[in-house]
């Protein structure tokens, strides 16, 4: 399964080579070791899940990928190259987009504007052009608006376009956040608990969107999720973390039958 050419999933999708690889990552906060010597990879076109109990270090791992935390040890490889130390915005500009465990939308802006910020990495008209609303700035604004409208249609949020984000209910906010990340047309999409706090119906919607994104755009997805049922349903491969260590890695079935995982995680009631 681990050959460079990738593999074919049970439902017949072709998974490509390694897109992102974490090599021996360790992360310390002062004396606290949040992540201890973890390695795993994410392949092109794959839905990769990271699971584990609270405080296992999952969010911290995404934050390392985003460049928000710098690992104390270890390397991040992206598109076949070792990534030098980078600011988060530079990482984003390399095609890494994400959502957050605690929604991080721009509350003072409308849904449309929020999603438009996702296009920001694709826009570079100069100050003067923008001030005059002419030439490049105007063309960009229109072209990117069209892209954003596609995302809006895709996620079925047409009717809240002009609503200030602050007024939306929780479930919709999560969806808008996904829209903002999708608008960036990322190479890899990181989702930190996209379904936390949702009811069953909302979870189903969200799962469907995630699978559709992966299917239609071939976007690589790394997601953190608590709901085991959902994880087993939508992911191709799963990393299991516990107390900062990796205790399992493989297909949902493999992980489900791994004794360490059963002891450490599945056995625990959540």
């Amino acid at each position: 399964m681990k050959d460079l050419k990738g593999y074919v999933t049970a439902d017949g999708r072709q998974i490509g080579g390694v897109l992102m690889e974490m090599r021996n990552i360790t992360l310390k906060f002062g004396g606290v070791v949040a992540i201890k010597d973890i390695s795993f990879d994410v392949r092109e076109g794959e839905v990769r899940a990271i699971i584990g109990p609270n405080g296992a270090g999952k969010s911290s791992m995404l934050n390392i990928i985003s460049g928000f935390y710098t690992p104390s040890e270890g390397e991040v490889w992206y598109k076949g190259e070792k990534r030098p130390p980078m600011k988060p915005y530079e990482v984003a500009r390399q095609g890494v987009a994400r959502t957050f465990q605690n929604i991080a939308l721009f509350e003072g802006m409308t849904v449309l504007d929020n999603i438009m910020t996702g296009r920001l990495t694709h826009m570079n008209a100069g100050l003067v052009s923008q001030a005059m609303w002419w030439g490049k700035a105007r063309d960009e604004e229109i072209a990117n608006r069209e892209k954003v409208e596609e995302v809006i249609d895709f996620l079925e949020i047409q009717n809240i376009r002009k609503t200030p984000v602050g007024r939306l209910p929780y479930g919709l906010k999560k969806r808008v956040e996904l829209a903002r990340a999708l608008a960036a047309e990322p190479s890899i999409l990181l989702l930190d608990e996209p379904m936390a706090g949702m009811n069953v119906e909302e979870k189903e919607d969200m799962s469907r969107f995630i699978l559709d994104v992966n299917d239609e755009f071939g976007t690589t997805i790394a997601l953190i999720e608590h709901d085991m049922g959902v994880v087993m349903d939508i992911s191709d491969r799963v990393v299991v973390m516990d107390y900062g260590k990796k205790i399992g890695d493989g297909t949902p079935d493999e992980v489900r039958n791994n004794q360490d995982v059963i002891d450490a995680y599945l056995g625990v009631q959540h």
Binding site: F106, T121, L127, E146
Partner: protein, 358 residues
């Protein structure tokens, strides 16, 4: 019924992004512009130009500059007046060193200097946030005013330490200095303010505006979605200080006629902050509403007792004024913390659905 959106469908994103998606807003603006460009100049007295029209425009512009920084980009500044001072002194130096220079060009260029100084004092914002940054901007406030006083070159070594606006001509007419006519000055101010307002509207509704607002609402998330915070904050300081600097040049050259360093002291900074906040942070139109209130109110309070025949000393009026403005600030903050612009937006929303309120 006044505001009818029914039947106005957008057929393209271009139309949807137009300045006035709703036709009535455009009509309203048209009426305002007609008043500003035609009716006021025809009817206003010298007194009205000098106490209301010109200062309202200039204060609106200064508040708009501040609003870009504080309302849009979320960086609280208490040093606006000092940056106005930079604009004013820069303009003064330019027209005295290069008397042939077109005064309007000089005014527009003076903003470049304040923009530079603004960026320099904006650098701390990359490390310092919130109130700490606000106090840091006070460093600019106090340091620059001190500099205006101590650096004699700035005021051409005048014995008085003040700058005096010379008579300046454009196309054969005096537009600044003692000889200038109020109406002409009004038109110059109106032209510049209109132009800069348009540019600011464009900047704030486009990509840069979204970048600023994202920085304001949640800087960490902004950085994680690809915003270079340094660039975002420094462009905000740059654009803001440019506008504020031009406002400062207008303030002295088109209105006051002369300036001492302490004119740019902290009370002026606060006055502009009031205008921006009472008008509405994160709104362009709010600056005008705020300026009308803050500039207009004292004038009204001054004239009211006279017209009513109440004997009251001018010092008393002055003090009452300050008290009333203080109370009004609190009053407005309580009834609508988001300012007059939001108040207007709510009324407008009501008008759109009226008379069928659902």
């Amino acid at each position: 019924m006044l505001y009818r959106t029914a039947g106005q469908f957008k057929t393209s994103y271009t139309a949807d992004q137009a300045l006035f998606p709703i036709r009535q807003d455009a009509y309203l603006l048209g009426i305002i512009l007609i008043f500003a460009w035609v009716v006021f100049p025809l009817t206003a007295s010298e007194f009205t130009f000098q106490t209301l029209l010109i200062p309202i425009l200039i204060y609106s512009l200064a508040a708009m500059g501040l609003n870009i920084l504080t309302g849009y980009a979320g960086q609280l500044s208490l040093g606006t007046a000092a940056f106005m001072g930079v604009g004013a002194y820069a303009c003064y130096k330019m027209v005295t060193i290069m008397p042939w220079m077109n005064p309007v060009v000089a005014i527009l260029l003076s903003g470049v200097f304040s923009a530079g100084v603004g960026v320099a004092f904006g650098i701390p914002s990359l490390r310092i946030k919130g109130f700490y940054l606000a106090i840091a901007t006070l460093a600019a406030q106090f340091f620059l005013v001190w500099l205006f006083e101590k650096w004699a070159w700035l005021y051409n070594y005048n014995a008085s330490g003040a700058i005096q606006v010379p008579n300046l001509k454009m196309f054969g007419v005096y537009i600044a200095g003692p000889q200038a006519d109020s109406m002409i000055q009004y038109f110059v101010v109106l032209g510049i303010v209109t132009l800069l307002t348009l540019l600011c509207i464009n900047l704030t509704r486009g990509n840069l505006g979204r970048t600023w607002k994202a920085t304001r609402d949640m800087d960490i998330a902004a950085e994680l979605i690809g915003i270079n915070l340094m660039k975002s904050k420094l462009t905000a300081f740059m654009v803001s200080s440019y506008v504020v600097g031009v406002a400062g040049a207008l303030f002295v050259f088109m209105w006051r006629g002369a300036a001492e360093p302490n004119l740019f002291d902290i009370p002026l900074s606060f006055r502009i902050l009031f205008i921006a906040i009472i008008g509405g942070l994160g709104s362009i139109m709010g600056n005008y509403l705020g300026a009308i209130l803050i500039v207009g109110l004292p004038v009204m309070l001054n004239t009211l007792p006279q017209t009513l025949g109440i004997p009251i000393s001018s010092a008393m009026v002055e003090h009452l004024n300050i008290m009333i403005i203080g109370s009004l600030i609190i009053f407005f903050l309580i009834i609508e913390p988001h300012g007059l612009a939001r108040l207007w937006a709510l009324i407008r929303e009501k008008l759109i659905i009226w008379p069928f309120p659902y």
